[in-house]
Structures are given as C-alpha cells and as structure tokens.
Amino acid sequence: MSLRVSLRHALPGFTLDARFEAPEGVTALFGPSGAGKSTVVLAIAGLVRPDAGRIEVNGRVLLDTDRGIALAAHRRRVGCVFQEGRLFPHLTVRQNLGYGRWFAGRHAAAQPGRVVEMLGIGDLLGRMPADLSGGEKQRVAIGRALLAAPRLLLMDEPLAALDAQRKAGILPYLERLRDETRIPILYVSHAVSEVARLATTVVALRAGRVLRAGPTAELLADPEAVPVLGPRDAGSVLEGRLVAHHEDGLSEVEISGGKLLLPRIEGAPGARVRVRIGAQDVILACLAPQGLSALNILRGEVSALRSGSGPGVIVQLRIGEDSLLARITKRSAAALDLAPGQTCYAIAKSVAVAPADIGGAAPAPLPE
C-alpha cells in the first residue's frame, strides 16, 4: 500500500473521522462541498495537526499520534496544489516554479522546460503572480508542485479554475506521472469524471466520513455505489490494449469483450489504456443494431439491475472480463424486458468516450 491514512479531527460544528488506504497511483477523494476533503489534504501535508491519526506514504510514517511521530511539513516531501493557488507574490512565475526544485536538490528530476510547455505557461515566466488570470495562477501552482519532486502529490481541486481545453491538456500529464514515476497522487474533486480515468482508487467522503473506498473500476462499475457517487458520475473504467491507429483518426482498443474505436490516442500499439464510459452514455439493445452511427457495439450479459428513486435504472453488464454500467429509464428496462442473465448489446458512441476519459497514453513524453 502506498498511502494509508487514518485521521480524527474535531472542528466546531464538524468532525472528520476518516480512514482509507490507497495503493500506488492516483487516489480520487470525492465528496460534496464541506465534506472535509481539504481538511484531509491539509492533515496529510502536515499543515493541520489532527487530534489523532496515522499517515503513511510508501512505508514512510509521516504522522503517528500514538507513537508521537509528526514529521514537519517540509520533511514530508508532499507536493500540494491548493484550491487557491498560493503563489509567492514576490517571485516571478519562473522563480515560483523554481522554488521547490531548489530545495529538492538532487531529487529534482523533472525538466522545467517540459512542465512549462505542457502547462502552457512559457509566456508568463517573467510575470508576477498578481498579473495572472485565475487559471494562469493555477497552472503555475501545478507546475511549482510538480517541479519540487514530491513523493506524494496532493491536489485540491486544482483544475476547478481551468477551462476544458487546459484540463484536457494537463490530465494526460498527470497520468504519465502516475504510470512512469511511482509518485502517489491524492486528487480532490467534485466530479468523478474528471479523474476517473486517472484514479486507481476512489475514496468517497461525506460529512467527514468515508462512505466508500475501493479500486476505481470496481467502484464505478458497482451499481450500489451509484447513489454515493451521484448518478451523473456513474460509469465504468475498462482496461484495454491499444491495437492500431486508423487512417481516419480513430484508434482501436482491444478490451476483454471486444474492441472499441476511439478518437486518436497517441501511443504505440501494444500500450495499455484505460477507458471510461459513462453509464449514461450507453444505450442498450436486445437485437444486434444495424445502420447506426455508433461504432462501438459490445455484446454482453446483464449481471445486475439497480433502480433508484428516480426514473432511471442502472444496468450492470458483463462484457468479457469487464463490467460495464448503463443508465437507462425504467420504461426502457421494462420494454426490453431486462433481467440478469439476459444477453444484450451495449452501444457507446465512440466520441462519447471523451478525450479526457481515455487514459494511459499521454500526448507528450514524460519530463526526465
């Protein structure tokens, strides 16, 4: 396990009592506003001293109130990107970026040039933080944390102020970070979709408690988790292998139960990729459909049905080895006469697998 957290902390009107473990990779910490996500982040960074708890990163104990251990923030090597940026107002963008690097000394591995380019902040290097727009600030803050060569990266809604394009530009980079370095990332977000493709593990927090935690694919594909994550964010994450790039700009990915055609992803054939398909982006059919613009039609078997209070039903399909969720109306479920064990076809528009939801291959080489 690369990250073990167990915290108890009481604030007036709010008590945090959370415990979770996360393997290597990206752990997504979800929860509504006021759930205590930022409090968890601050405790891990060493900026809030919880009443009691234990924090361990890759076997290194950062905090253990029982044993009286509490590493100072600067010894934790925990990079943070905060909701509010927190750039140093007296330093230029360049100097802000260099700040952590300087202390990282020989650990400082990342090439600043690559990070700067990836974040699109090359033109801002000479500026002072006060002259940046909200999104520009946040991009610089991300760069600064990355360049400090942290052993754990905490990101507290770092992309909230970014536009979709910038977000999409940064996600693949975080992905590579996850895959090629072994830096665990704890990523706080409101929107599962934002990090589902990134996250190895999902931890759902509400009112200071962990509601559910587990591997992303499992959790997202679990119909029981839908009320926790919110129906809009339900969906499944499939693992696959990149097979080929086609002329018309599509890439072919093989999954256990068939193949998918996705908008081009830049990676060498053979690479492993993760694909997220939102439950609401899947249409079901009992007969093999014909003459549709949708390219991805997978054959599977209904393994579970879960209806909530609304008009929707979550249908879990077994497709090869994978689980796929579909969210359809009760009316449709009745019309199709769906029941566990039944064979049916899942239709996903290739483009419904959004660029941000395709993981595994980043558009740019990882900085050294």
Binding site: H74, P89, H90, G100, F103, A104, D131
Partner: protein, 232 residues
C-alpha cells in the same frame, strides 16, 4: 548655508549619522527576532517582552537615559561586566550614544516589522513548507521578502528617530564633542546659551533634511517593493 556650518557642527552631523546608522544596523537583527516572536510565537512572558520593548516609548527619555546610566554605566550591573569581560564600553562613548538611540528607536522598529509580519499570509509560508523549505528557509525566502517593505520602513523610521534622539543620549553618555555630541545635543547646547537660537535652528534644519530624506527614501523603497509584490 553650508559655508556657515562650523567644523564642530560637521562633526556633530557625522557623528549623528554614524550613531544612528550603527544603532539601526545593530538593532535590526534583534528587532526582527523580537517582532517575529511577538507576532508569531506564543510563550509565557510574551506580554512582558512586549511591554519592555515599548518602555522607551512610554518613559520620558531622561528617565530612560538615567536607567541606562544605572545599568550600562561603568559601574552598572550590565556595563561593568561587559567592559571587563568583552571590552565593550558604552559609558560616555559613541557606542553608548548608539545604544541609547537604538533603544529609543527600538519600539518603532519592532512595531513596523511586527505589523508586516502579521500581515503575511501564513498560507504562503505553509505552501513553502510543502515545497521542502524548513522554517529558517521559509523565513528567508518567503517571510523576509514579504515583510521587506515593513523592515525598510521600520529601519528608516528608527534611523530618523535615532537622528532626533536627545534626552536619553545626553543623560546617558553626556555631550562630549566628537564622541557623544550628536546633532540634537549640539542643538541643545546652542539653545542653552544666549543668542544660540539661530545656530540651533540651522542644525535643526540639517537634521530635518537628513531625516526627511531618509523617510522619503523609505516611502519610495516601500512603494517600489510593494509594487513588485503586486499590491495596489
């Protein structure tokens, strides 16, 4: 006007500048430490320290000078050992004038620095810590630059105050030409003799010009630094 300034007056001006500069330079590290302690640390006796720092502001200067004379004089409980063991003599020397000026200006310096430390967003220091900076480094690379306007303002204010300090100085180290006769002491001497007002006012003018120059410089520096930090 300058040609009417006598050599003795030049001496007084030079001495005042030296005394004030040394007073500020020597007390600045202690001022930073004290301001930081008052702004950030919670320790028993914090209020006592705060009170002590302010004492020179509250006491009539003559009393401060008298207390200095008692404590740091040749036979004083602090002055005597200092002189015996380290050869640091304050009694009736320019160093004593610097000590008196430094002490009188200390509360002003500490207050200015303290307020600017309190205005530093601790979140920035926390961010620096997460980037690997230990406490001292955070202080040097984040806190200090952010409080630079306050430090400059405090330092120069202290300098100006030191330039004008008189009561404590003359009471502590007397008014010895070339050694402890600063501008204000010279002004006093002129004011004590018939017809000395003209000469006194001339020296007042010199002293005001120097101090104002320093203050304006500090304003300008402060604004420059503030602008760099992106303030208004």
């Amino acid at each position: 006007m300058l040609d009417t300034i006598s050599a003795a007056e030049w001496d007084a001006l030079r001495l005042s500048l030296k005394v004030s500069a040394v007073a500020v330079a020597a007390s600045l590290p202690l001022g930073l430490l004290t301001a930081h302690a008052l702004a950030r640390w919670r320790f028993p006796g914090r209020q006592i320290l705060n009170g002590l720092v302010h004492l020179p502001l509250i006491l009539p200067p003559v009393v401060t000078g008298y207390l200095l004379l008692l404590g740091f004089g040749r036979t004083g409980p602090i002055g005597a050992p200092l002189e015996a063991w380290f050869g640091i003599g304050f009694a009736f020397r320019w160093t004593g004038a610097a000590l008196a000026a430094g002490i009188m200006a200390f509360p002003l310096m500490v207050r200015a620095i303290r307020l600017s430390i309190e205005a530093v967003d601790p979140k920035l220091e926390q961010a620096a810590a997460t980037l690997g900076a230990s406490r001292p480094w955070v202080w040097i690379t984040v806190t200090l630059p952010l409080i630079a306007p306050g430090v400059v303002a405090g330092g120069i204010l202290a300098f100006a105050k030191a330039m004008g300090e008189f009561g404590a100085t003359i009471t502590f180290v007397s008014n010895i030409p070339g050694e402890t006769r600063t501008l204000p002491s010279a002004i006093y001497a002129f004011l004590q003799v018939p017809g000395g007002e003209g000469a006194a006012m001339r020296l007042v003018l010199i002293s005001v010009v120097v101090s104002m120059g320093a203050l304006l410089l500090s304003e300008w520096l402060g604004r420059r630094i503030a602008r760099r930090l992106g303030g208004t």
